[in-house]
């Protein structure tokens, strides 16, 4: 097995530093292995390790043992890096729950960005189900606000509707693998 796995990164218009900080922010309060960051964002492992090390020197991250990092450090951090490896969180729920999520997020967008931006973001095909609408809206929010802010807006709502799975799904939707936020 090669030491350094990498695939073509898809960082959108972000720099690698921006993408890494965004990823770490999404996992604030937890410990993340440098390898996980690299593999998730599709970056070279050695380059990622150097980047993380620099960010730690600048005080923007906390360096822990065995190539692991945290945004905040402290006792609340999970000791298991695997715990934050992104998983495709499956949200189970009927149309009613998805509708609740959609209505909640739309209302937040309306309040945060106003009617015109809201209209631009929430438009979708009339035949779309609420799940598809939610996913589409979150993707559009990620584009408009950046993954981190979109996550701040969306995560509490998905969590309130779907519980802990909703929280994880918000990370997956706002900061997808490959970093295309």
């Amino acid at each position: 097995m090669p030491k350094s796995r990498s695939r073509t990164p898809d960082l959108g218009d972000r720099t690698a530093t921006g993408a890494v900080l965004e990823f770490m922010s999404a996992h604030r309060g937890r410990v993340v292995a440098a390898r996980t960051v690299a593999d998730t964002l599709g970056l070279d492992r050695k380059i990622t390790a150097t980047l993380l090390s620099r960010l730690a020197r600048e005080g923007r991250l906390v360096k822990l043992d065995r190539g692991r990092y945290s945004l905040t450090g402290g006792p609340g951090c999970s000791p298991r890096a695997d715990a934050v490896r992104p998983r495709r969180a499956l949200l189970s729920g009927g149309e009613g729950l998805w509708k609740r999520a959609y209505v909640g997020i739309s209302a937040e967008v309306d309040r945060a960005l106003g009617p015109a931006a809201s209209e631009r973001l929430v438009k979708g095909g009339p035949s779309q189900g609420h799940r598809e609408r939610v996913e589409r809206l979150i993707a559009a929010l990620g584009q408009e606000l950046g993954g981190r802010l979109a996550l701040d807006l969306v995560q509490p709502i998905l969590e309130s509707v779907f519980g802990e799975n909703g929280r994880a799904a918000a990370v997956r939707l706002c900061i997808p693998r490959g970093g295309g936020a």
Binding site: D13, R111, L113, L145, L149, D152, L153
Partner: protein, 257 residues
């Protein structure tokens, strides 16, 4: 400074260096030879109640309604509803402009309030770096020509180290210039304590306007002074101004000593 030299320093293309962005504030545009140079970062400072936010609204409403220049009002402390109510009290109806997409009020205060359970997380949402990251996404997807940030004080408060704050603010100002958007950045001051909150904002902005409130016994007297404006001549006298229906009016022919 020559037009070419000004352009080199500012990063503004030479042909745009003297392109003006009028504020629409009666009297103020006369003090600045026609408005802010396009693509510059302009700092407005003043104590609470001095009219900073209103000046920002005047700037955006004038651009959106008279010059077809869409604008963004980024509020970090006041909520959208509070801002709309305040604007209405001055007979500035922002809702039609919002519906037409000519004005976008981004309520960062709501996002922060909605999310923030702890200081660390608030910092993530509201810091200057987070603000720049948000703007890099948002501005690329809008046609906005004007931006008001109300206030930079609210974003800077989470950066404790003065050197770091200066660097972040420097990066933000440069980013805004690169985006070519004409920005009005608001900073609060505590009366009697300096000209700006952090005492560094004025060095990084292209222009620096101070709104003052003076207790003259029977009430408060408002005045405005341009302390700095790069690339252009400007009036450097202190002039009184009033707040009336429709916004701010500067009495540019009157002086205060």
């Amino acid at each position: 400074m020559s037009k070419k030299a000004a352009a080199k320093v500012s990063g503004i293309p030479p042909d745009m260096a003297l392109d003006r962005v009028p504020t629409g504030v009666e009297g103020l545009d006369l003090m600045t030879s026609g408005g802010f140079p396009r693509g510059t970062v302009n700092l407005i400072s003043g104590p609470t109640g001095s009219g900073k936010s209103l000046l920002g609204l005047n700037f955006l409403v004038h651009g959106a309604s008279k010059l077809d220049e869409p604008g963004i009002f980024l509020t970090l402390e006041e909520t959208r509803e509070s801002l709309l109510r305040a604007a209405e009290s001055f007979e500035l109806d922002l809702r039609p402009l919002e519906l037409e997409g000519k004005l976008t009020i981004v309520d960062m205060a709501h996002i922060r309030e909605h999310h923030s359970p702890g200081e660390d997380e608030r910092r993530e949402v509201a810091s200057l770096a987070a603000l720049q990251e948000f703007l890099s996404h948002f501005l690329s997807r809008t046609e906005a020509k004007r931006l008001v940030i109300d206030s930079i004080t609210a974003a800077g408060i989470y950066t404790k180290d003065p050197d770091e704050l200066r660097q972040e603010l420097f990066r933000l100002c440069n980013f805004l210039r690169e985006m070519g958007i004409t920005t009005l950045m608001i900073t609060d001051i505590v009366e009697g304590k300096g000209l700006t909150r952090y005492d560094i904002e004025q060095f990084l902005a292209d222009s620096f306007i101070v709104l003052e409130l003076e207790d003259v016994g029977k009430g408060l007297r408002r005045s405005i002074i341009i302390r700095k404006m790069r690339y252009t001549d400007h009036d450097s006298e202190r002039h009184p101004f009033i707040i009336r229906k429709g916004g701010i009016q500067v009495m540019h022919e009157e002086e205060i000593y």
